[in-house]
């Protein structure tokens, strides 16, 4: 019995190779896209899950006056929390820029200074060492397996000594523990863990300062209920402690929140929305392939009505027939899924390279894969088998055998199939429109106006390192300015338009109240010229005018009494002009602002400069010039007519000569900006892949249906030709009918794509316009591809001699 099933199944597949191939290939492509995209989703949403009991760990986040959330709080909060909640399991960590010194070699190192209770919260798997004893002594050092290999090779790392250079001091450490290598799904980048000691108030007066947000504080709770109890008490915690702070912070400016560690990776918008969108694309592609499969399977099954009738005559029962059809369908779906898995394996390395994340299928250690495959096979297999199973097994054998033609599900059946094609193409067209817009937006970001010339500019990241002295910085700038090809070199306490944490109220001299909160950047001479800022009104700071410059950024608002009495000339960006309520850039010139008792006069207004995510609006900025040293000063070097790598090498040589103790780190601005576009580049690549494959699957389905449809209609076409229809008439008829669902699909796809893409583009401060061209181009393209797909079939049938067609029965 079973052998017969297999035999007829095999013959049926072999006899209709084309249908079988189309069926399986379409499903395989859909499964491949689904698996690849779901791997991305799984990768992005499984961050920190490797940490034992990660679900029990929470971060304390704080919100600043501008409404921005930060994952850190002031370091002293840990003790205050422990004081208020004695049972609390908590720790904190502070990242620090450091170098490892081994003889003459200086290597950058990612160091995290942590509270000794760190391993009570983070139960990290160790390759060596005793967890209970770690970080008990001030010279204890815990490193990762990777670092151990790097520094000690195959030797036992425990007990080895390493010298770290940070906070302007050399520190000798002894390795006491080695953390096992971490998976790529982690945002914990520190390779070295050392003890964070509580400093004396003299050593660090800010330690207990609300707003000195330098440590990440982690809490661990045995149950979510316990976390909620503390979370609900946070407002009272602030009330109890904020009064003791020396800083003039009012209660209303402070908000704290407990956030699960597992949520942290996707917490910055739009990360979570993007992951959800990728998941949606994955599911829609699978749906597309499944619909395709069901559609073709049901169409094809109707050709087997005679076989079913004969089986019934020979004694087959209805449940037996249903089992046969569903069984066949599950087997074919399994083939499709396995081929899809193979395609996924083949494209995964390419895809990983394209999106810059290493994805891989884990066959043994991960029930996820098996689960997904079983899900796909069962849903698609049973789903596509049930309809024809019930439909075909219902026919009365006598009527099927007597009839010259096979029942194809009738008009209702063909309507259903057409509706399914509409759905398939709606998805495919929607993806294509989405791809067109997202690719256009990603490309636009690379050439959008940033308010300065992004080409020919180098940012020196190691410049603000605390071990570099003001004198060294001045020498570096002088040395670089002398390099051939360098047009300008300057420093500032941040990149222009990248909102740092320096903010203050600025108000117009005549206005009441505090005035708006505005970012202020401390910049050195020539900084705006070096970046290539564009003037809207007035002038840029001029080194020959004393009033344009203050002495040193360290004093800023707290300079000498004489300095505090003078008015400082400043430059605004266009947003600041707006925030301060000036009618125009020109109207702001010569106007006086006050802040913290100091007076400022506007001498110039520049265009907004953007050095951050294109999703966020540019903040109001005031550029305050200093002739002396600048705290946390970054350096920018403008060059022209020389090779970037060659110049970078010469700058590095200058650096090594002047600052031998610190490594040189620098990047072009174009490379640094890439960071902000990375996500959008990734999405546009993923969507391009999905769209191309969706259109392909749609066309495979359309081709299958067209060939099925023409096979069913050979007789009708014969009749029409007998009545005098020319080949052209037939071609027109068939093409019209095949393409009608594709045209209808546009009506469904357009509004949905519009809504989704409008939401996507609204997430950008700088964006392309959502013009009808994208919709038109995507639709025409899809229609053209669909037309080419079915033209062959239509042409073949239209040209067949009618007598042959009429014999076809």
């Amino acid at each position: 019995m079973f052998a017969y099933w297999i035999l007829t199944f095999y013959r049926s597949v072999a006899r209709h190779r084309l249908y079988a191939a189309i069926n399986v290939l379409g499903l395989a492509l859909g499964v491949a896209v689904f698996l690849v995209l779901m791997l991305v989703v799984r990768f992005q949403s499984s961050f920190e899950q490797w940490i034992p009991h990660a679900d029990q760990i929470y971060l304390v986040r704080s919100k600043d006056v501008l409404g921005n959330w930060y994952p850190n709080v002031f370091p002293g909060m840990l003790d205050e929390l422990r004081g208020d909640y004695p049972q609390l399991v908590a720790t904190h960590a502070m990242g620090v820029e450091a170098t490892v010194r081994r003889g003459a070699a200086v290597t950058p190192a990612k160091v995290s200074m942590v509270d000794p209770s760190f391993f009570k919260v983070f139960d990290l798997p160790l390759a060596a060492g005793d967890k209970a004893q770690l970080l008990q002594s001030p010279d204890d050092l815990v490193i990762t397996q990777n670092t151990a290999r790097q520094y000690f090779g195959a030797a036992n790392p425990i007990g080895q000594r390493l010298t770290l250079d940070f906070n302007k001091q050399l520190h000798d450490y002894r390795v006491v523990g080695v953390i096992k290598d971490r998976p790529p799904t982690t945002d914990m980048s520190a390779e070295f863990l050392v003890r964070l000691e509580v400093p004396t108030p003299e050593a660090n007066p800010n330690w207990r300062e609300w707003g000195y947000n330098t440590t990440t504080t982690y809490l661990r709770f045995a149950s979510p209920a316990q976390a909620k109890v503390l979370s609900d008490d946070l407002d009272r915690f602030i009330d109890r402690h904020v009064g003791t702070s020396t800083h003039r912070r009012s209660r209303k400016n402070i908000t704290l929140q407990l956030t699960p560690l597992l949520k942290m990776h996707l917490i910055t918008p739009p990360a979570e929305a993007i992951v959800a969108a990728v998941a949606a694309v994955a599911v829609l592609t699978l749906l597309l392939a499944a619909v395709n499969y069901v559609n073709l399977a049901t169409a094809r099954a109707s050709m087997r009505a005679k076989e079913v009738a004969l089986r019934k005559v020979l004694g087959a029962t209805r449940p037996g027939l249903i089992a046969q059809f569903v069984g066949e369908s599950v087997v074919v779906a399994l083939c499709g899924a396995l081929i899809g898995l193979a395609i996924c394996e083949l494209v995964l390395p390419l895809f990983s390279a394209a999106i810059g994340v290493t994805l891989k299928l884990d066959y043994l250690g991960d029930p996820w894969l098996a689960g997904m495959m079983a899900f796909v096979v069962l849903v698609v297999g049973v789903g596509s088998g049930l309809y024809p199973a019930f439909l075909l097994s219902r026919f009365q054998p006598a009527s099927v055998l007597a009839s010259a033609r096979s029942p194809g599900g009738g008009r209702a059946g063909s309507r259903l199939r057409e509706a399914l094609v509409v759905l398939q193409f709606a998805i495919a067209i929607g993806f294509t429109i989405g791809m067109a817009v997202i690719v256009a937006q990603a490309a636009y970001l690379h050439r959008a106006d940033l308010g300065f010339r992004r080409q020919g500019l180098i940012e020196v990241d190691s410049f603000p390192h605390e071990d570099v002295t003001p004198e060294q910085r001045a020498s570096l700038l002088t040395a670089w300015r002398a390099e051939p090809g360098v047009v300008g070199a300057a420093q500032a306490d941040g990149k222009p338009g990248d909102p740092g944490d320096r903010i203050s109220h600025f108000k117009r001299a005549s206005a009441p109240g505090d005035g708006p909160i505005i970012h202020f950047a401390s910049i050195g001479p020539d900084f705006l010229q070096t970046f290539g800022a564009r003037l809207l009104a007035g002038r840029l700071p001029d080194p020959s005018r004393a009033a344009d410059f203050s002495a040193s950024s360290q004093q800023a608002f707290f300079g000498s009494p004489q300095e505090a009495a003078t008015t400082v000339n400043i430059v605004l960006n266009a947003q600041a002009v707006k925030a301060l309520g000036f009618q125009s850039p020109r109207g702001a010139l010569g106007q006086v602002l006050t802040s913290n008792g100091r007076r400022f006069m506007v001498v110039g207004v520049i265009r907004d400069m953007r050095f951050h995510s294109p999703r966020e609006p540019v903040e109001p900025f005031i550029y305050w010039s200093f002739s002396g040293s600048i705290d946390f000063g970054e350096a920018a070097v403008r060059y022209a007519g020389v090779d970037t790598d060659a110049l970078m090498a010469r700058m590095a040589a200058d650096w090594r000569r002047i600052v031998p103790t610190e490594p040189f780190e620098a990047k072009t601005v174009v490379a640094k900006l890439e960071h902000y576009y990375q996500t959008d580049n990734q999405i546009s690549r993923m969507l391009t892949l999905a769209a191309v494959l969706a259109v392909m699957i749609g066309c495979i389905g359309l081709y299958g249906l067209a060939s099925f449809n023409t096979a069913q209609r050979v007789r009708e076409i014969g009749i029409r030709k007998t009545l005098g229809a020319s080949s052209r008439d037939i071609l027109r008829l068939l093409m019209g009918q095949f393409l009608r669902p594709v045209v209808l699909a546009n009506l469904l796809a357009w509004p949905l794509a519009y809504i989704a893409l409008r939401a996507y583009l609204l997430g950008f401060d700088q964006r392309v316009a959502l013009t009808p061209a994208y919709f038109a181009i995507a639709s025409v393209m899809t229609l053209a591809i669909a037309a080419v797909t079915v033209a062959g079939q239509a042409l073949f049938v239209a040209r067949a001699p009618p007598s042959k067609a009429l014999r076809h029965e």
């Binding site: 009708e716 014969g718 029409r720 030709k721 007998t722 009545l723 229809a725 052209r728 008439d729 009429l806």
Partner: protein, 226 residues
């Protein structure tokens, strides 16, 4: 009206070569009613298809109203069919997805008739064969006899010079068969030339001439006294 001279038709497949028609010579005058008879597989339908220009002979000449048909291209053949011919088939060959009226109208659609003229002609044709009351139904809702009458309506709606009928009564009971033959007879009386393939000697008797075929040849072509 029709002159066939030395018509041969071969069917080739990978393994076998079948000769369906051998040296057929046949002349049919305007207004004739010709019945073609013979056992299954003798070439009756091939001959009819050749006459109907839906199959091309392998060799020989075919003059239709003095025009050589065998060397016409596909498009010209389609024009010849739609302007001159009407077909009636044993299995009716109505299009399932179209109503009876739409099926009949199809014959005019390809003749590029204007919509409003078509309606009247379709109604008249359906009336002529007695199924006007079923015009809005689909083929499967009609009895076999009604379907065949609708098929005849479709064949005559364009007032063709030649009606070709391939066993038009083959799928009908005797009563419906008689009715169909009555319609064909009256069409012939009104001037239509009819060529009909049939197995039924009694139906062949209605024709004015009987052509008997065997193994692809015409063995007897006998004109009956009217």
């Amino acid at each position: 009206m029709i002159v066939l001279a030395d018509i041969n038709r071969l069917f080739r497949s990978d393994e076998v070569e079948t000769t369906a028609l051998r040296s057929i010579d046949l002349t049919i005058e305007e207004g004739e009613f010709v019945a073609i008879m013979g056992p299954s597989g003798c070439g009756k339908s091939t001959l009819l298809n050749t006459l109907g220009m839906i199959d091309r002979p392998t060799s020989g000449r075919y003059l239709f109203r003095g025009q050589e048909v065998t060397d016409l291209d596909e498009a010209a053949l389609a024009r010849m069919r739609r302007d001159n011919l009407g077909f009636v088939f044993q299995s009716f060959n109505l299009i399932d997805e179209l109503t009876i009226a739409e099926n009949v109208e199809l014959g005019l659609v390809y003749r590029r008739w204007a919509g409003k003229d078509r309606k009247a002609r379709v109604e008249a044709a359906l009336d002529r064969v007695g199924v006007a009351h079923r015009s809005r139904h689909y083929p499967h809702q009609l009895s076999g006899g009604q379907q065949q009458r609708a098929a005849i309506a479709r064949a005559i709606v364009g007032q063709p010079a030649l009606i070709l009928a391939d066993e038009p009564t083959g799928n009908l009971d005797s009563e419906n068969g008689e009715q169909v033959m009555e319609i064909l007879k009256s069409l012939n009386r009104e001037g239509a030339t009819i060529v009909m393939v049939t197995h039924s000697p009694s139906h062949a008797d209605i024709a004015k001439r009987v052509v008997n075929m065997l193994d692809g040849r015409i063995i007897v072509s006998a004109r009956r006294a009217a």
